[in-house]
């Protein structure tokens, strides 16, 4: 069921929030053994919130999101419900405060069904790095759902939640959305508050919504977005279209847009090539013009991304030291032993790898060669995009170089795993909004395409994506899910 259908049915009184919440809780519980998309399912919280939502509707104070069930990626701190970030380190961590995103969605009346599985500390492209077990792709449970927001993508695809929150640092919303055949928006850096969203790489992390359709992204996005005084990197803007979206409006696309195809991306489109050709034709049929563009520094994006993200992660994760919260080694012999064993035991292999590489690139003697160099590359990539956007309104690219791969296929080859992010990291480095939406299938597995817009032009992405989905039906297909 779509967010819009549920919202309208609740408004019409066809069913109550408690009823629809119960139904989703049932589906979530029954399918989670096979999918493992949820780390925590929280029926008590959900039903209490659903009851409150129904009461609020009774008072005539409902928003279009009031009573709509949803799931939070387990990276968002939730007061009273444990927040693990997919890590043994935080297996028992219960936050004393709500993330801004959690607070805003709760304030709008959304009902939290549970917390979704993810790669540990959002580090991964397959969801195999979770301390709570890998997530299965609902289209083929032998395959990965993508990562790091793989749990969110899988529960949406498997009908275990109408929408979910995700976070995207180098593709963590877009890539799993593509692998699971759903839509996902990474907003402009600064659009959604990072307060209470456990940090991986602070200059890149951005929260966003994941749902079956682009139209369904608009409502949750509008309530997640907005300035937050608790986040210094949050953007202070007032846009009337955001307020209209909060009232349930989906932005409409009428004018012919100039859509750029970056040659550097198309050359590597791989599995997506044919599907993209079809998408281009569909977009042209809608009155948009297509033109080639160049983003010459694209190739340097993945290495630059892994340097920047690793550097920031290495210090963001220093607070997990066994002293105040999180995993603490038993019977430490001294302070060093406490630190070393708490972190050795609490963190998984991929997290350790990134802390080590991040520490390395910030070290005296290596800083200039790696960190400073990566920052230069980052600026060049930003300039590439700014240059391209003087000619085009939006960019169209594949989201991933291939369809969802088999579990364990890449776990022994981190570099091949990192290469999965080739199309998604550039927009992250540039802080641009980017949308992934289904554009076809290959061997029964979904393919995604990515639309990238200039800073703060999420409206353009959502309008174009929704228009495309009105003309196509890829987004309507659901996995033949056999629990």
């Amino acid at each position: 069921m779509s967010v819009r259908d549920i919202s309208q049915a609740l408004a019409a009184g066809s069913y109550s929030s408690v009823e629809i919440t119960r139904r989703y809780l049932q589906t979530a519980e029954s399918r989670n053994d096979a999918i493992n998309g949820y780390i925590s399912i929280t029926p008590e919280v959900a039903l209490a919130q659903a009851e409150a939502a129904d009461a609020r509707r009774g008072r005539g104070e409902a928003t279009p999101l009031t009573g709509v069930p949803m799931a939070h990626k387990d990276i968002f701190c939730t007061r009273g419900v444990r927040t693990t970030c997919g890590s043994r380190m935080l297996a028992n961590f219960v936050s004393p405060y709500d993330a801004t995103v959690v607070e805003q969605l709760a304030h709008a009346g959304a009902v939290m069904l549970g917390k979704t599985n993810m790669d540990e500390f959002a580090m991964g492209s397959s969801n195999e790095n979770s301390s709570f077990g890998a997530v299965s792709n609902p289209w083929d449970t032998g395959r990965v759902p993508g990562g790091s927001s793989g749990g969110s993508a899988a529960v949406v695809a498997a009908g275990m939640a109408p929408f979910a929150t995700g976070t995207d640092t180098g593709g963590s919303i877009r890539q799993p959305a593509a692998f699971c055949g759903v839509s996902g928006l990474k907003p402009t850096y600064g659009r959604v508050s990072r307060y209470g969203m456990i940090a991986f790489a602070s200059s890149l992390d951005q929260g966003g919504p994941m749902a079956r359709t682009v139209a369904d992204l608009a409502l949750p996005f509008a309530y997640m977005a907005g300035f937050d005084a608790r986040d210094s990197t949050s953007a202070q803007r007032s846009e009337p279209w955001l307020e209209a979206m909060r009232q349930g409006e989906v932005p409409q696309q009428s004018n012919g847009l100039r859509i750029g195809l970056p040659a550097e991306y198309m050359a590597k489109a791989g599995d997506s090539g044919a599907a993209l050709e079809a998408a281009i034709k569909a977009l042209e049929a809608l009155g948009h013009s297509i033109r080639p563009v160049h983003l010459p520094h694209t190739e340097a994006a993945v290495p630059a991304y892994y340097v920047v993200a690793g550097a920031e992660a290495s210090t963001n994760l220093s607070r997990y030291d066994g002293v105040r919260f999180g995993h603490r080694a038993e019977h430490p012999t001294d302070l060093t032993d406490l630190y070393e064993r708490s972190r050795t035991e609490g963190f998984g292999a991929e997290v350790k790898r990134r802390i080590l590489t991040g520490t390395y690139v910030l070290s005296v003697g290596y800083y200039d060669a790696y960190y400073r160099q990566a920052q230069k590359v980052r600026r060049l990539i930003q300039q590439d995009f700014l240059q391209a956007f003087t000619d085009v309104d939006v960019l169209l690219t594949p989201t991933t170089p291939n369809v969802a791969f088999a579990k364990a296929a890449l776990t022994q080859d981190p570099v091949a795993m990192y290469a999965q992010d080739v199309f998604t990291t550039p927009a992250s480095l540039a802080g641009l909004p980017a949308l992934s939406l289904p554009c076809g299938f290959l061997d029964g597995l979904p393919l995604g395409m990515q639309l990238i817009a200039p800073h703060f032009e999420e409206q353009r992405l959502l309008a174009l994506g929704a228009q495309y989905q009105e003309a196509t039906d890829w987004h309507t297909r659901t996995p033949e899910f056999a629990p």
Binding site: F76, C77, T83, C85, L90, F93, S95, P96, Y97, A99, R194, Y195, G196, M197, I198, A199, A201, S202, S203, A229, R230, D231, S232, T233, A311, E312, S314, T315, L317, S318, R319, D321, V323, R324, F325, G326, L335, Y339, T359, L362, S363, V364, Y367, Y371
Partner: protein, 476 residues
Amino acid sequence: MKWQATIGLEVHVQLATQSKIFSGAPTAYGAPPNTQACPVDLGLPGVLPVLNEQAVRMAVRFGLAIGAQINERCVFDRKNYFYPDLPKGYQISQLDHPIVGRGKLEFALPDGAQRTVTITRAHLEEDAGKSVHDAVPGATAVDLNRAGTPLLEVVSEPEMHTPAEAAAYFRALWQLVRAIGICDGQLQEGSMRCDANVSVAPTGSDTLGERTEIKNINSFRFVERAVRYEIERQIDVLESGGRIVRETRLYDDERDETRSMRAKELSDDYRYFPDPDLLPVEIDAAFIEAVRADMPELPSARQARFETDLGLPADRAAALAEDAELANYFEAMTAAEADPVLAANWLLNDVAARLNADELGIRQSPVAAEDLAMLVRRLSDDTLSSKTARTVFDRLWAGARGVDAIIEQEGLKQMDDSDALAAIVAEVVAGNPDQAEQFRAGKDKVLGFFVGQIMKRTQGKANPKQVNILLREALK
């Protein structure tokens, strides 16, 4: 061989903001452990820092007070290291782009000589918590109340050469930050902590010797003693053929020595990099001008004003101006129409002595400025003699209020009835014919005897000037 020492100080000034530098938690001193630490101070997962504008304003104020460049753009960096009282595993500080650039501090040495020391830079950073080693048996406890308290780290050039100079610099800085209202100056509470970099080299050498850093000195006296000890220690090492090792040392005030804490030869790698959670701070001219307009008077300007406008001698003006609170008290007295010179004398002599004896600051003085001003006025108009004034002061110190009421109650009003006084004088002269004869024979000193007798008879209430005149008359 002759040796010359070179000293540079890094002083951490706790800024007197209401809340912490990156969170809304209060900064008050002395709360029960961990009651003033919010999720941001605890470094909980997901929290983010937000810069306290008041801290920026205070840093700019300091920069203006030392005539420094205020950098238009300053950047916060993460300084990475693990320690239990450092919740995030990094301290937010400023490395390459501090808020305050090069400036200078002028001050006087105890012998009166003027010195100017260059301040290389001053940057904003957050304080760490405290590790408490004696609260829990067998374990170290951590109190994070102090974590996130704003600090301004003021770094001097290595331009000082004697322990006294280092102490005088530290004191001058202490006076300045209090005068401009950015620090409470409570040294015993750790409001200002000093690290001293000390090296020695043969006199006349153009290179500096290897230096050591003495950490966390928190009083003027200890700065002087720690630096002196360290200079002597280094000279001893060098003269016995040894080599100075670059290291961090701790001053032990009970044993009056410095001890090695850790070798710094492999120089710690703090992996500084710009904190991505905080945007660079842009400080525009309008902001700086607003801070300038708000700037309290600097001690030097105040001293000059006390000299020229109020006619105080330079030493008195300086003594008052260097202590902002004392100067405020003094100005409250002159505002209440006390004679400035008399007021200054009372403050710096009688009041200072009593405060000292009772170990109080001027803020804790039991005598209100208005009362002391009235006392001075009653001295000026000859209602009180210096003797009776002290009696009134004693009553005020003991908690009585209202100078005129005390004078009335205690009957301390100076005798201004010249007939009555003349009668007493005549009586005393008549009663002591031998002394009167001596005086008339030219023995002037005898006059004191008569004055004493008359004061005794009048219980000190006679006006000494009047007594003098009447006596000389009667003894003719």
